[in-house]
Symmetry: C2
Subunit: 280 residues, 2 copies
């Protein structure tokens, strides 16, 4: 399978992995956001992932690839299914397609991004509602919710997509991966490769490990940092024990706790594990 195939498969394996407390998974839906919306999002995103996987002398820009993926993902009524997953998968696919699927390779891939890539990232927010934190007080013009309206500011300040991610790295777990060579993703993928049993069970355990290791930034945006830290402690208490995590999954669902960034990291780890030849 190609990197694009692996990315498409990672999107569906992630949502199929259960329990992933607080997220839609094989056994749980949210009220208006259901498993089937994620399946449609995964297929819809494919054309954007193909842009990411296209290499050569003049490859499509990562910003265009991401915007296309998000636009395609949004052709279902559930809303935002995989925006964060795609933000991670697009550079991962490009790195894999250019034989650079390593932390150093990812650093090179993201460092090569341009202001046009940043513009594509901002335009992607026009296709779907994404839960995000407020921008830094000194950068209101860079609020992602402005979508394409923020592009002149990007151009004035000469901000690349890597620059934009650096600005959010302390508040957004996906941006932090962009800024760090995807180190948590690669670590999680190693854990999946070292684990055994069905792949979706391994991914559910990887999710718990990631959540226990660091508070989920989407939970922090929606419920505050203290609650996010408490959620991680609860995940730590059931790490490695999928049966024990079932109760947590039911409770987080009831309480509206959605560690979505950790699910994004899990999808990205699934991609790396597939590229590394995990058994399936």
């Amino acid at each position: 399978m190609s990197p694009v195939d692996h990315a498409a498969l990672a999107l569906t394996l992630e949502v199929a992995s259960t329990p992933k407390p607080g997220n839609v998974d094989r056994h749980r839906d949210h009220e208006d956001l259901r498993f089937e919306h994620f399946l449609a999002g995964a297929v819809g995103a494919r054309s954007g992932l193909e842009l990411a996987g296209t290499v050569g002398d003049d490859p499509p820009s990562l910003g265009d690839a991401f915007e296309r993926a998000v636009r395609g993902m949004s052709q279902q009524s559930g809303g935002n299914t995989q925006f964060g997953c795609l933000l991670l998968l697009v550079p991962l696919v490009r790195a894999a397609a250019t034989d650079r699927l390593s932390p150093d390779g990812l650093r090179g891939t993201t460092a090569a991004t341009t202001v046009d890539d940043a513009a594509g990232f901002y335009r992607a927010f026009e296709h779907v509602d994404v839960a995000v934190d407020d921008p830094p007080a000194d950068a209101p013009d860079l609020d992602v919710r402005r979508g394409a309206d923020a592009v002149p500011t990007l151009r004035d300040r000469g901000l690349t997509l890597a620059d934009v991610m650096d600005l959010s790295a302390d508040r957004d777990g996906n941006a932090a991966e962009w800024s760090s060579g995807f180190e948590r993703v690669f670590d999680a993928a190693e854990g999946v490769l070292d684990d055994d049993g069905p792949l979706t069970d391994r991914l559910a355990r990887a999710f718990l490990d990631l959540l226990a290791e660091r508070p989920d930034t989407l939970v922090a945006v929606e419920h505050g940092r203290e609650r996010a830290a408490a959620v991680s402690r609860e995940a730590a208490a059931v790490c490695g024990d999928l049966d024990a995590a079932e109760d947590l999954a039911d409770r987080f669902l009831d309480e509206g706790i959605n560690p979505g960034t950790t699910a994004d990291l899990t999808a990205a780890a699934a991609f790396v594990a597939l590229e590394r030849g995990v058994s399936l």
Copy 2:
């Protein structure tokens, strides 16, 4: 979304639909054939579906498209996940890509198949073990389990893929669709479009309706015609009632009853419903 996207999505929506008594579904695995294998099969089949969706002056043959799809589907350890689904989806995708997605259009699509298409169909059996009935007593040379070894016989007798399907139409539910303009598939798709609620629930109800309407030919191969008829009566008793079908799903799983051909028809109906604009 393109016909190829809709076919890829139909494959995952089918396996996600639950309960589909006796089949792998969102809530049930078989012992060595799990949900994740179907997700991998769906992604792997994509390159073959793309051949089916490629049209123009000299389109790829449907036999090559089918063989490629099955080969790609087989890149996982679960075995045969979607052979029958693909046998239906390949001509459906071609018909949709040429604006002929109707019973008459499918009759035209299948009537245009050649001996080369039949050869591709036979070669596909070399990629995966498929549960099939014995060939007619007067045609042992046409046993599909011979794979490519049967191709000289196909050429000697000038048999097209449509001819091969006609020979099995009375014993194989998928072949029967090929011979009838996919009438049951189109009828089931209309039922899905007229139904409401989540699409995977609609597809589960469509599965029950199809199973109640006619005995599953895979069950007949594996357990005999009487048992297949009894299975259909049991499905009829719970038609339209997914809660009541849950018990049946648990029981069929325990008893090794796998109405897989009916699941194939359900995937094909999902494709047609998606092409007709079903809400998702």
